[in-house]
């Protein structure tokens, strides 16, 4: 993988590097004996949204904390908007906005006060902070609640305010750590709408998520990580091709039916069905989606397989891992 990292000579620490996005090279971070990051490489080109996909504990939050200059890595390097996070943290802080799963706004202050204060702390002028705050209140649809303390907000409103605060100083680069985790479906759609706007404006962003579907919504590029390492990178469509679109889960009543079910599915054109004797299930990618279901049912019926349950679903993170590593997520 070409990282496009330029090496700056030691005497020129503060020189802007040519690359404006996010580059990470061989980053490691250990907590005790556990490798949170284990030689992670990734690259988010300027103006693009990189979806960082991985299960709990994959190292997503650790990476965001390092990129946001909150944590120092043990080794490796990372640069954001052309600034090295270790050598020039102040320049990085001036260039980025951070929002996370723990909506970090001051609960006792109103949306307007939060935006004004964080704007001023980001070293904006008072007047500039105020007009920018009004603009964001409008854009994030917080006008009706802008003078109420944030602790009275719903989860979705709070997350929107958190995003607005992250954007207050017009950052060139944005880190969003699981922006929809813990939100109900409606609030999740609200946040997606806002993210969609940002993406269309060409903001460079790193968005972590546990959901393939979510990354697919707004990422230009997806990097899948596990155990602190990159395991795949590609455009959403490419990754989905590798994972294989819709999945079929078939449960049979008798263990003896499993081999017959596997050959029936293979005969219906499903590549490589995987039986699991423990749960009496067969899982397979369903090429062509539900249109192939009639054929599948005919073959199963013809083979005399007694079906307990049959479902078609979008690929999950587990399927991604299975497809990319050949083994299920072992957590």
């Amino acid at each position: 993988m070409n990282l496009g990292v330029t090496n700056s000579s030691p005497g020129l620490h503060r020189e802007r590097e040519t690359h404006g996005g996010i580059q990470v090279e061989g980053l490691t971070k250990r907590y005790g004996g556990v490798h949170a990051l284990d030689g992670l490489d990734l690259n988010a080109p300027e103006g693009q949204v990189l979806g960082l996909l991985g299960p709990n504990g994959a190292g997503k939050s650790t990476l965001v904390r390092i990129l946001a200059t909150l944590l120092k890595p043990d080794s490796g390097r990372a640069s954001v908007c052309g600034f090295d996070v270790i050598r020039d943290p102040q320049a990085v802080r001036r260039s980025v906005g951070v929002a996370g799963q723990y909506a970090a706004v001051d609960e006792y202050l109103t949306a307007r006060e939060n935006l004004n204060i964080f704007g001023q702390l980001a070293r904006m002028g008072k007047r500039a902070a105020r007009s920018r705050a009004e603009e964001l209140i409008e854009r994030f649809d917080l006008g009706h609640a802008a003078d109420r303390p944030a602790r009275t907000y719903s989860g979705g409103m709070r997350r929107r305010l958190d995003l607005a605060v992250a954007l207050i100083a017009g950052p060139r680069c944005l880190f969003l750590d699981e922006p929809t985790t813990g939100l109900d479906p409606r609030a999740r759609v609200e946040v997606w709408a806002v993210l969609g706007d940002l993406v269309r404006q060409g903001t460079t962003a790193l968005v972590t998520t546990q959901y393939l579907e979510e990354a697919d919504q707004f990422a230009d590029l997806i990097t899948v990580i596990d155990h602190g390492r990159e395991i795949a990178t590609g455009k959403p469509a490419e990754l989905k091709d590798r994972v294989g679109g819709d999945h079929l889960d078939l449960a049979v009543r008798r263990a003896a039916d499993l081999p017959a079910a596997v050959s029936a599915l293979a005969a219906a054109g499903l590549p490589d069905p995987k039986p699991d004797p423990g749960t009496l299930c067969v899982t397979a990618v369903l090429p062509g989606g539900t249109s192939r279901m009639a054929e599948v049912l005919r073959k199963l019926d013809g083979a005399g397989v007694e079906v307990a349950d049959i479902t078609v679903r979008r690929p999950t993170l587990d399927d991604v891992f299975f497809a990319l590593t050949g083994k299920a997520d072992d957590r």
Binding site: L109, L121, M124, G170
Partner: protein
């Protein structure tokens, strides 16, 4: 979407002062938003003033003479201000556990403004608490007898002490991992600090080995100094064996400035290594 040209310029020091002012304003806004917290800051001291004045006051003859009410009100001032530092610590620990501190640390602001803003806002809280307590004191019969300047000096000393205790609270709040621990840790040292003093009883009534501890306690110095400046009864405090009791005002100033000088750098150190979850 670039608004970088709207950023303010200036020397690091001026910008840091500006950050401190912004954080102080944030702390003050919060003060009004949590009226129950402020009320709680007031309930206990008011209760103390009333209990000591009307319940214990009649039964405890004050050694050295003078009205017990005048004696005890100043002790409650100093006590309440010392105990406020516990709330300071808990409040900061709450900020930390909610990830708010991370937000500050990821900003290009001067990080020193976070503890400074908190301590400054606490000073305003101390001013409010002292004001209300003074009114309650006046109602139960407490008076300052030595004129305006001396009275103002007494209140100034109390507020200086409150600022010192706020910094102790800030340091504890930034050093521990959660609000509950901050509360317990704060109380653990404030309780003996408050009571092993001549606030409510004369030092001469304590066992021999405890007397030096009480005499060198900053609360003793502040209470004795303030009583002196208000012209309130000292309850046999002027014990020539101990320097702070012979020079209470100097001792109180040195103690408060000393605590500030030690705990400001400690708080900044704690902030640098602080990390939400």
């Amino acid at each position: 979407m670039t608004v970088t040209e709207t950023r303010v310029a200036g020397s690091g020091f001026v910008l840091a002062l500006r950050d401190c002012a912004v954080m102080t304003r944030r702390g003050m806004l919060r003060l009004g938003r949590v009226p129950d917290e402020l009320a709680f800051n007031l309930v206990q001291p008011i209760l103390f003033v009333l209990l000591f004045s009307y319940v214990f006051g009649g039964a405890i003859p004050l050694p050295g003479g003078g009205p017990f009410r005048e004696y005890v009100v100043v002790a409650v001032f100093a006590h309440s201000l010392a105990f406020m530092g516990v709330g300071t610590g808990t409040g900061l620990a709450v900020d930390m556990s909610r990830g708010l501190i991370d937000r500050f640390r990821a900003l290009p602001m001067a990080h020193v403004a976070v503890p400074v803003g908190r301590a400054n806002a606490e000073l305003l809280r101390a001013l409010l608490v002292t004001g209300v307590l003074a009114i309650v004191g006046l109602l139960v019969g407490w008076r300052a007898h030595l004129g305006l300047l001396s009275t103002l000096a007494g209140f100034g000393l109390l507020l200086l002490f409150a600022y010192a205790m706020a910094w102790v609270g800030v340091t504890i709040g930034l050093s521990v991992r959660n609000p509950e621990v901050a509360g317990t840790a704060g109380l653990l040292w404030v309780l003996p600090l408050g009571f092993v003093s001549n606030g409510f009883v004369p030092i001469s009534s304590m066992p021999e080995w405890l007397q030096p501890v009480a005499a060198w306690n900053p609360v003793t110095a502040v209470v004795t100094a303030t009583r002196t400046l208000f012209g309130n009864p000292l309850g046999l405090a002027a014990d020539p064996r101990f320097w702070p009791l012979a020079h209470p005002v100097q001792a109180a100033v040195i103690w408060s400035l000393g605590l500030i000088a030690v705990f400001v750098p400690l708080a900044l150190l704690a902030f640098r290594s602080a990390r939400s979850r």
